[in-house]
Amino acid sequence: MIRNTVYDNYELVVGLEVHAQLSTNTKIFCADSAAFGAEPNCNISPISLGLPGTLPKLNQKVVEYAIKLGLATNGTINKYNAFDRKNYFYADLPKGYQISQDAKPISVGGHIEVNLKDGTRKKIHLHHIHMEEDAGKSMHDQDPFNSCIDLNRAGVPLLEIVSEPDLRSSEQAAQYLTEMRKLLRYLDICDGNMEEGSMRCDANISVRLKGSKEYGTRCEVKNMNSIKNVQRAIDFEFKRQIDVLEAGGTITQNTLNFDASTGVTSVLRTKEMANDYRYFPEPDLLPVVVTDEYIKSVQAELPLLPEQLIHKYTTEYGLPEYDAIVLTDNKQFALYFNEVVKFTSNYKAAANWMMGAVKSYLNDQVIEITSFQLKPKQLAAIINLIDDGRINNSVANQQVFPELLKHPEKNVEQLTHELEVFIEADDNELIGFIDQVLDKYPEKVKEYHKGKKNLIGLFMGDVMKLSKGKIDPKSANKLMIDRLELHK
């Protein structure tokens, strides 16, 4: 039993700001490629460079993507959208301001639901989602004397997703990020890769005594490049802030850096050092007015999202919720499953094959479902052979499936034929095999009759060997019980 500690008197309050880099072809305000990984300073036009006289021109795709996420998170889409300038100086910010949305963000409110370890679900509310441009990248490790600046990233479109301070544990924060990433991937608007920085997260963290209605003073932690590190930073801050309070101190509203190697936060800048961003309406861009019609057209094109798929799998396909959650964890995986069940109506078997044989093969090979060599139709064919009583399950698992992986070009029926594993044995043959086995184990048969019923597995295994798998296990099992009675 864990002893009650002072930490138990406090409640953690966290709100997250997620920056999602959109997977548009071009940047938000010019035609430069927005692709990741190019040689430094290759995707830069005069506009990305912020040269004198250049103006932004909005990429409409960004608005579409933003509305997609807004709708998918149940937000209210602002029909009148304005951009604002956020003014600050930094070496990788060529214009000296970032074009963002302050007063009129594209989506307001909304929520997503997350699964918690204890099996419950929790609604996390969103404050808003807004569009903005990314800054360039400063690199301090390329040259001993100078910092280097890569402006390829300058102007790559971002959505900033700001949650309400609804998160009460680091686990909830991790689940929220996992769900948000899943949603971004389902919508196909962001690849959600935190290591490459295409999804980034800042956490606003505070603590308060349990039961208190007031929020504590928060600190904003930056620079966490994985969900794991967000969790670590939150756990560290929770303890640190309580320690400060318990020692009679107060929390200062600072911006903190998280060092992943030590797991410790440190002050990046104090409130006094904070920028006054001097937001004001961006005069170079006209307001973006979206019509109800346009919102409806975006809505109509939304793919089925995890929530909806889970609902469909559990109600239409009768799958357990657990299966539905596992199947929808990855969008491509779910899409594959959707294809499989076009060719077989044994949904549970399809789910089992996906979650079992297919998943473990993918894990072994460390590949994604998109690189899986079998077509959904082939997997369905195996399932159908089993359902039709033409091959047995273990043969399918141990012989047909592995062989098909080696020869994915082959037809399932033909391959099964070549393997000679179709169920062929008739009852007489089967009885012959059974008697042979029971005669081999007279002692075991006695033990069986004394109550060791699970010995039937041993007998069946031998029958299977003798028959080279070409038997229907169900009828063999039935016959075995009959024959055992005769061997009393």
Binding site: P52, L55, D284
Partner: protein, 477 residues
């Protein structure tokens, strides 16, 4: 040399073989050389202009020349031209070369205009006398002890002194109209959004417009129809079709004109300019037009509103000149912070720094609502007031400036005195309305006087054609 007052005159001379474009360019180059003391040009594209002239002379012979063949034009030093230097007449951009061309330059070149050089202006177009330029003041050719007006002072003087046929300026709060008035030439500020700002070094984005400075209304119309129109690089440039302004210069019928009681009876208005206003009101009436008094009670607010909003935008627009990526970097800079502080302190002139400070202040936390947000609301009221007047009248007639060109250095000491000179030009800027300065008279001090007409949104056609009437009735008188 023979002086030409319009492109039509140049083209006529070329067509009768009494002139080649190469000769014309050489004449202008000669005059530029002889008038260096005016300080109108920051740089002259000598060889290039001559080569272009030879090329276009051939095109004219072959009948393949564009409609601006024969147009020798200067551009204000805040208009980008690929592979040419552009500095906004600031030390901070000294030696900077643009790697792309502004849309207006592209369009001029496509019609075979010859760009003969870049023209001096107030630093980042901030000023009304062309005295804030890093390259020094431009002198008024009518009296070299007087200022040219600004900020497009070089553009106005170059046309005034016959150093080129026309010039492009930019007008944020009167920077085309006021120097045009001081120099006795035509200056047009189009409706905001009529001309692309792509490639124009920004001062205040929601005000800046490129406008032609010419000797004739015809050339202003021609230049506008070439440079105007939608542009994929500027979302604020409207897609409203561009009329053939040069074919629509005959004003039909009689106009309804308002003059503003508050401007006519403004305390600081030079009595001779007031008299000229009165005389023009009478002349227009005599010509059969309706001229009536209208009220603009917000006059006292236009200058403060203008300066709050333009400095706010400028403080942000000029943040990119930071010594990091391009332009001037202080040799004393040792790290990022000193790069910013020293480069900007040394690179910007006094007036620009004053406006950056002012703009930063009005946007800062705690002051935004009291200044910027309030000024935005006043801007809307000014707009509504003028549009209301323009719903009853075709044009508003008003002075361009309270005085004629003043002495060099006279108003440099007190920025507020200088800012108040903008009182008649900034309302059109705040409202985004088109306005033109028409040279209609001369003061007893021998300096030119221009009167201003404000038109309805996107009614440059009406504004230009009616300007001809205004010009003509003054010629007759």
């Amino acid at each position: 040399m023979q002086s030409y007052d319009s492109l039509a005159a140049v083209q006529a001379a070329i067509s009768t073989s009494s002139l080649t474009l190469e000769q014309l360019v050489n004449n202008y180059l000669h005059r530029i050389n002889a008038n260096q003391h005016l300080n109108a040009f920051v740089e002259v594209f000598v060889d290039e202009a001559i080569q272009k002239a030879q090329l276009i002379d051939k095109k004219i012979k072959n009948g393949t020349a564009g409609k601006l063949a024969g147009m020798v034009i200067g551009i204000k030093d805040n208009i980008c031209y690929k592979n040419h230097k552009v500095s906004a007449s600031s030390k901070i951009l000294e030696g900077f070369t643009s790697i792309y061309s502004s849309t207006v330059v592209e369009r001029l070149l496509a019609e075979d205009a010859i760009i003969i050089g870049r023209l001096n202006c107030d630093e980042f177009a901030m000023g009304g006398s062309n005295e804030t330029s890093y390259y020094g003041p431009v002198l008024n050719a009518a009296d070299t002890t007087k200022v040219s007006g600004g900020s497009s002072g070089g553009s106005a003087v170059a046309v005034q002194a016959d150093l080129c046929l026309a010039a492009l300026g930019t007008d944020t709060g009167g920077s085309v109209r006021q120097p045009a008035a001081f120099c006795g030439v035509v200056g047009l500020k189009p409706t905001y959004g009529r001309v692309s700002r792509h490639g124009i070094i920004a001062f205040a984005s929601s005000f800046d417009q490129v406008g032609p400075i010419t000797k004739s209304i015809e050339d202003a119309a021609l230049l506008l129809e070439v440079i105007a129109g939608k542009d994929e690089y500027d979302g604020t440039a409207t897609s409203i079709p561009v009329p053939n302004y040069s074919n629509e210069l005959n004003f039909n019928g009689k106009a309804r004109i308002a003059y503003l009681d508050e401007t006519l009876n403004s305390e600081g208005l030079d009595p001779e300019i007031r008299a000229l206003m009165q005389q023009n009101i009478d002349l227009l009436r005599a010509d059969g037009h309706t001229v009536e008094e209208a009220h603009f009670p917000l006059l006292d607010y236009v200058v403060p509103t203008y300066y709050i909003l333009t400095t706010a935008e400028a403080s942000s627009n000029l943040a990119r000149y930071d010594g990091v990526h391009y332009g001037y970097r202080s040799p004393q800079a040792i790290d990022l912070e000193s790069t910013y502080k020293k480069s900007r302190t040394e690179g910007f002139g006094l007036e620009v720094k004053r406006r950056i400070m002012l703009g930063t202040f009005v946007l800062s936390a705690g002051y935004y609502d009291a200044y910027y947000a309030k000024a935005q609301r006043v801007r809307r009221m000014i707009m509504d007031n003028l549009n209301e007047i323009l719903s009853k009248y075709d044009f508003i007639l008003l002075p361009n400036a309270p005085t004629t060109a003043w002495n060099l250095g006279e108003k440099l000491k007190d920025p507020v005195v200088m800012y108040l000179e903008d009182i008649f030009t900034v309302q059109a800027s705040l409202s985004g309305l088109p306005a033109i300065s028409v040279p209609v008279g001369q003061h007893s001090n021998n300096l030119p006087i221009g009167l201003q007409l404000i038109g309805k949104k996107f009614d440059e056609a009406g504004l230009l054609s009616f300007s001809k009437i205004l010009l003509n009735i003054n010629k007759k008188a």
